[in-house]
C-alpha cells in the first residue's frame, strides 16, 4: 500500500502539508461558529429595549488579567514550536508546559468569575446579556479545554513522535499552535465586546 503523501512535507504546488490545510479549514468553520454567535449578539442587542454596560456587571480587571494570560500563552506556544525548529527539545518542553499552565490559570480565573456571578444570583436566564455572555465565554472555555487536552498530549505521551518523525511532530505542534492562536483571537474579540462595550 502506498502511504498517504504530504503528511510531513508540503505539496509543491499547494505549498502546504495536509494537516495544515485541514487545520485552516477547521478554523474557517470555527469562524462561522463564533461569527454566528457574534451576529446573534448584534441582532439581540440592536433589538433590545435596553442593554446593560458590560463593565457594570463584569469585572474589567479580571478580564484584562485573563487577556494578558492568554496573550502570554500564545507567545509561549510560538516559542515551543520555534524550539523544535531549532532542535532544542528541552526548551520545547518548558515552553509547551508554560502554555498549558497559562491556559489552566485562565480557566481557574474564569471559574472564579462564573462562581462570583452565580453567588450574586446572576444566571444565564437572568437577562439576554448574561445569556449571550455565558454562551460565548462558555463555548470559548470549552475550546480552551480542548486546546489544553491537545497540548498536554503533545507535551506528554505524544512527544514520542519526536524520536521517530521529528518533522511531522514539529508540524503537529505548529497546527496545534494555529488553533491555539485562534482561540486567543476569539478572546481578543470577546473581551471588548462583552466587558467594555
Amino acid at each position: 500500500m502506498e502511504e498517504i503523501p504530504y503528511t510531513a512535507t508540503a505539496r509543491p504546488d499547494t505549498g502546504v502539508y495536509n494537516a495544515k490545510l485541514g487545520t485552516w479549514l477547521f478554523l474557517a468553520s470555527e469562524v462561522m461558529l463564533f461569527g454566528a454567535l457574534f451576529s446573534s449578539y448584534i441582532l439581540l442587542r440592536v433589538g433590545a429595549a435596553e442593554w446593560p454596560h458590560g463593565a457594570d456587571i463584569l469585572s474589567v480587571p479580571i478580564g484584562t488579567f485573563n487577556t494578558l494570560v492568554l496573550i502570554a500563552s500564545s507567545v509561549t506556544m510560538v516559542m515551543s514550536w520555534a524550539s523544535l525548529k531549532m532542535n532544542d527539545f528541552r526548551k520545547y518542553k518548558i515552553f509547551m508546559g508554560l502554555t498549558i499552565l497559562l491556559a489552566l490559570v485562565f480557566l481557574v480565573v474564569k471559574t472564579f468569575e462564573y462562581n462570583d456571578k452565580f453567588s450574586h444570583h446572576l444566571f444565564p436566564g437572568t437577562s439576554t446579556f448574561l445569556a449571550i455572555y455565558f454562551t460565548l465565554t462558555g463555548l470559548h472555555a470549552l475550546h480552551i479545554i480542548g486546546g489544553v487536552i491537545v497540548n498536554s498530549y503533545f507535551w506528554g505521551p505524544g512527544r514520542r513522535m519526536w524520536k521517530t518523525e521529528p518533522e511531522r511532530f514539529t508540524n503537529r505542534v505548529e497546527v496545534a499552535g494555529l488553533y491555539w492562536h485562534f482561540v486567543d483571537l476569539v478572546w481578543i474579540f470577546l473581551f471588548p465586546v462583552l466587558y467594555l462595550l
Binding site: 500500500m1 502506498e2 502511504e3 498517504i4 503523501p5 504530504y6 505539496r11 499547494t14 502546504v16 502539508y17 495536509n18 494537516a19 490545510l21 485541514g22 479549514l25 477547521f26 474557517a28 468553520s29 470555527e30 462561522m32 461558529l33 463564533f34 461569527g35 454566528a36 454567535l37 446573534s40 441582532l43 439581540l44 433589538g47 433590545a48 429595549a49 444566571f123 444565564p124 436566564g125 437572568t126 437577562s127 439576554t128 445569556a131 449571550i132 455565558f134 454562551t135 463555548l139
Partner: protein
C-alpha cells in the same frame, strides 16, 4: 514517496499480508479505509432512507383515510418478511450480511412500537401529536440521516479518492470518527421516539418559540443534530484536504471529473453552513435547559398562560440562523446528485460533457450564491420589502447557473449513441424531474407569488421533485453505476428496469398532485389532509391517489432490495472496466479496489471525458493513457 516502483510493490504485498491479519472488527467495523467507511455510510443511510419513507407511508394513511385505524400489520409484515428472508438466507451462507436482515427485523420492531401505544395511536387511530412527530422526523431523517450521508458520506468517500488517484482520504482516522459520530447521531434521533412525549414534533425546521416549549424529544433532536453537524464538519475538512492535496500527478483542477468538483463545492457548503446551525442549536439548548431566552420574546403567552422568561429574545433569529445553513443544505442535496448524473451521462453517451468548464464555473458560483439566498424562505415573516427585494434578486440569480448545468447536461445528449442501461435511465429521468422541481421553485423565490403558495402542498411538491425523483434517482443511478466497482458484480438489468419504471411512474403520481393541491391552497401541515376545509374539498380525492402511489413506490423498491443483496453474492462477475469509462476509478484501479486502491499510483495525461476521440482505436481514452506519439 521517494520509493521506487519495485519497493512500492514489495511494500504492497507486505501490507496485503498484514491486512489479512486485521481482526474483523478492525477491518469492517472500525476501519480507516475510505472504501469500507463509504460502504458503512451507504448501508446506514439507505437504512435511514427506508425508515424515513416508512414514517411517510404511515402519514399517508392518515392523510388518505383521516381518523381511520391504521392497518399496522400491513406495514410491519412486509418489512419483517424482507428482514427475515435476508437474515435466514444470509445466515445459511454465513455472510456478514445477516446483519442487514437483523436491521430490517429491528426496523419492523420499531414500526410495531410506533403503531401501538395510547399516546401515539389509540386503537390504531393516529393522534395529531404523533402525526407531527412523524412529519418532523421524516424531514430530519431524510435530509440529515439519509441523503447527505448517502450522497457525501457514501459516494463521496468511496469514489473521490479513486477518481483523483489517491491511496485513501487525507485523514483516515478522522474519516472513521466522522462515520461513528454520524452513527451515534442517528441512534439519538431514533431513540427520541422512545422518550416520554415522543420525538421532536416542531417540524424539521424546529421553529422557535414552538420548539422551545416542545417535549423532551426536541432536546434529543438538538443533541442528535450536534452529532450530525460534527460528523459533517469532519467529513468536509477531509474532502477538501483530500481533493486539494492528494490529486495524482498531472490531475489539475480542470481535469477533475465533474463529480469531484461537485463534492468539492459541497464540502465547502457543509464546512461553512453547518457551524451557524450548531451555534443556533446550542442557543436553543440553552433556552430549553438553562432558561435563557435567545429565541423567546418578552410577553410570550402559551395556552393562555404567560411564560416566565427574561424575554428580549428574537424568534426570527432562529429562522435566520437555521436557513443560513438550510439553504446551502438544499444545494448539498443536489450538487453531488448533479455530479453523479454528469458521470453517468458522459459515460453512456460516449461523448465528452458539453460545456465542462461552464459547468465547473456554474457549480462554484452556485456554491457562493447559496449563502446569500436564505431569507427567501422567510418572505412571510414581515422582515420588510427591502430585504425581500434583495433576497428575491439573489434567488433569481442563483437559478441561472443551475439552468446552465442542466442545459449542458441536456445538450450533452445531442448526437450521442446513448446506451440505455439502468444507471442511464435514472440519469435521464433526473433531467426533467429536476427541471420540474427547479421551475416550480421560481414562483416561491419571488415574494408576491410566494405569499399565496407559502406553507402549502405546492412547496412540498416543489422540493420533493428536486430531492426525490431528482436526488434519489441520481443516488440510484450512482448505485447501479458504481456497484460493479464495489463488488465486482453487476446488478441485474431486468430487475433494475422494473425498479426504474415503477419508481418513475409512482414518484410522479405522488408529487404532481401535491402541486395541484397546493395551488388550491391546501396547507402542508394538516393532520386530516384538508378534510375540514371547504376550499380543499375539490382536490381531496388526490390524497388517496398520492397515498396509493406512495405504497406502490414502496412495492417497486422490492426488486431493488432483492437485486442488491442477491448480486453481492451471486451477481454476474464483470470485467475491470465494465462501462469502458475514462475516469481513474475504472481505468486505473483494480475491481474491487484493494486496500490502498492502486497497485501503482496513476499519472494523469488528459481531461476526464475523452470519449470517441477521432483516430483512436477504442471509443474511450482513459485519463491515465499517455498521449499518442
Amino acid at each position: 514517496m521517494t520509493l521506487d516502483q519495485g519497493t512500492t510493490a514489495g511494500h504492497g504485498s507486505h501490507d496485503a499480508a498484514h491486512e489479512h491479519e486485521l481482526a474483523f472488527w478492525r477491518k469492517y467495523i472500525f476501519s480507516t479505509d475510505h472504501k469500507i467507511i463509504g460502504i458503512q455510510d451507504g448501508f446506514t443511510s439507505l437504512f435511514f432512507l427506508f425508515f424515513g419513507f416508512t414514517l411517510m407511508m404511515l402519514m399517508r394513511w392518515q392523510l388518505a383515510y383521516p381518523g381511520e385505524p391504521v392497518p399496522g400489520l400491513y406495514f410491519i409484515i412486509p418489512i419483517a418478511a424482507i428482514g427475515g428472508a435476508i437474515a435466514i438466507v444470509t445466515a445459511i451462507r454465513r455472510s456478514y450480511l445477516s446483519l442487514a436482515g437483523v436491521v430490517f427485523l429491528g426496523l419492523a420492531g420499531v414500526v410495531w412500537f410506533l403503531v401501538t401505544g395510547d399516546e401515539r395511536m389509540p386503537e390504531g387511530i393516529m393522534l395529531p401529536e404523533f402525526y407531527n412527530q412523524l412529519g418532523a422526523m421524516h424531514g430530519t431523517i431524510m435530509v440529515f440521516l439519509g441523503i447527505v450521508p448517502l450522497a457525501v458520506g457514501a459516494f463521496g468517500n468511496y469514489v473521490v479518492p479513486l477518481q483523483i488517484g489517491a491511496p485513501d482520504m487525507a485523514f483516515p482516522k478522522l474519516n472513521m470518527v466522522s462515520y461513528w459520530v454520524y452513527f451515534v447521531g442517528g441512534l439519538v434521533m431514533l431513540g427520541s421516539f422512545f422518550v416520554p412525549g415522543g420525538a421532536a414534533n416542531s417540524g424539521w425546521t424546529s421553529y422557535t418559540p414552538l420548539a422551545i416549549i416542545a417535549t423532551t424529544g426536541q432536546t434529543l433532536w438538538l443533541l442528535g443534530m450536534v452529532f450530525i453537524i460534527t460528523s459533517s464538519l469532519l467529513g468536509s475538512i477531509n474532502f477538501i484536504t483530500t481533493i486539494v492535496q492528494l490529486r495524482a500527478k498531472g490531475l489539475s483542477f480542470m481535469r477533475l471529473p465533474f463529480f469531484v468538483w461537485a463534492q468539492f463545492v459541497t464540502a465547502f457548503l457543509l464546512l461553512l453552513g453547518f457551524p451557524p446551525l450548531e451555534a443556533a442549536a446550542a442557543m436553543q439548548l440553552m433556552d430549553r435547559l438553562v432558561g435563557t431566552s435567545f429565541f423567546l420574546p418578552s410577553g410570550l403567552v402559551v395556552s393562555g398562560v404567560a411564560v416566565e422568561v427574561s424575554g428580549g429574545g428574537s424568534p426570527l433569529l432562529w429562522q435566520h440562523l437555521f436557513w443560513f445553513l438550510a439553504h446551502p443544505e438544499v444545494y448539498v442535496l443536489i450538487l453531488p446528485a448533479m455530479g453523479i448524473i454528469a458521470e453517468v451521462i458522459a459515460n453512456n453517451t460516449r461523448k465528452p460533457l458539453w460545456g465542462y468548464k461552464s459547468m465547473v464555473y456554474s457549480i462554484i458560483f452556485i456554491g457562493f450564491m447559496s449563502f446569500i439566498v436564505w431569507a427567501h424562505h422567510m418572505f412571510l415573516t414581515g422582515m420588510g420589502t427591502v430585504i425581500s427585494a434583495f433576497f428575491q434578486t439573489t434567488t433569481m440569480i442563483i437559478s441561472i447557473p443551475s439552468v446552465v448545468i442542466l442545459t449542458a447536461l441536456f445538450v450533452s445528449l445531442w448526437g450521442g449513441s446513448i446506451r440505455f442501461n439502468t444507471p442511464m435511465l435514472f440519469a435521464l429521468a433526473f433531467l426533467p424531474m429536476f427541471g420540474i422541481g427547479g421551475l416550480t421553485g421560481l414562483p416561491l423565490g419571488l415574494a408576491p407569488t410566494d405569499v399565496p403558495l407559502h406553507d402549502t402542498y405546492y412547496v412540498i411538491g416543489h422540493f420533493h421533485y428536486i430531492v426525490a425523483p431528482g436526488t434519489i434517482f441520481a443516488m440510484f443511478a450512482g448505485i447501479y453505476y458504481w456497484f460493479p466497482k464495489v463488488t465486482g458484480r453487476r446488478l441485474n438489468e431486468t430487475l433494475g428496469k422494473i425498479h426504474f419504471w415503477g419508481s418513475f411512474a409512482a414518484m410522479n403520481f405522488i408529487f404532481m398532485p401535491m402541486l395541484i393541491q397546493g395551488l388550491a391552497g391546501v396547507s402542508r401541515r394538516l393532520w386530516d389532509g384538508g378534510a375540514e376545509f371547504a376550499h380543499a374539498q375539490e382536490v381531496l380525492y388526490l390524497n388517496e391517489v398520492m397515498s396509493v402511489a406512495a405504497w406502490v413506490l414502496a412495492i417497486f423498491q422490492l426488486p431493488f432490495i432483492f437485486n442488491f443483496f442477491r448480486t453481492i453474492r451471486k451477481g454476474k462477475k464483470v470485467s475491470e472496466n465494465i462501462w469502458e469509462a475514462t475516469t481513474l476509478e475504472w481505468a486505473a484501479a483494480p475491481t474491487p479496489p484493494p486496500h490502498g486502491n492502486f497497485v501503482v499510483i496513476p499519472e494523469v495525461h488528459r481531461g476526464p471525458y475523452e470519449y470517441s476521440l477521432p483516430g483512436q482505436e477504442k471509443d474511450y481514452t482513459p485519463q491515465n493513457q499517455l498521449a499518442e506519439a
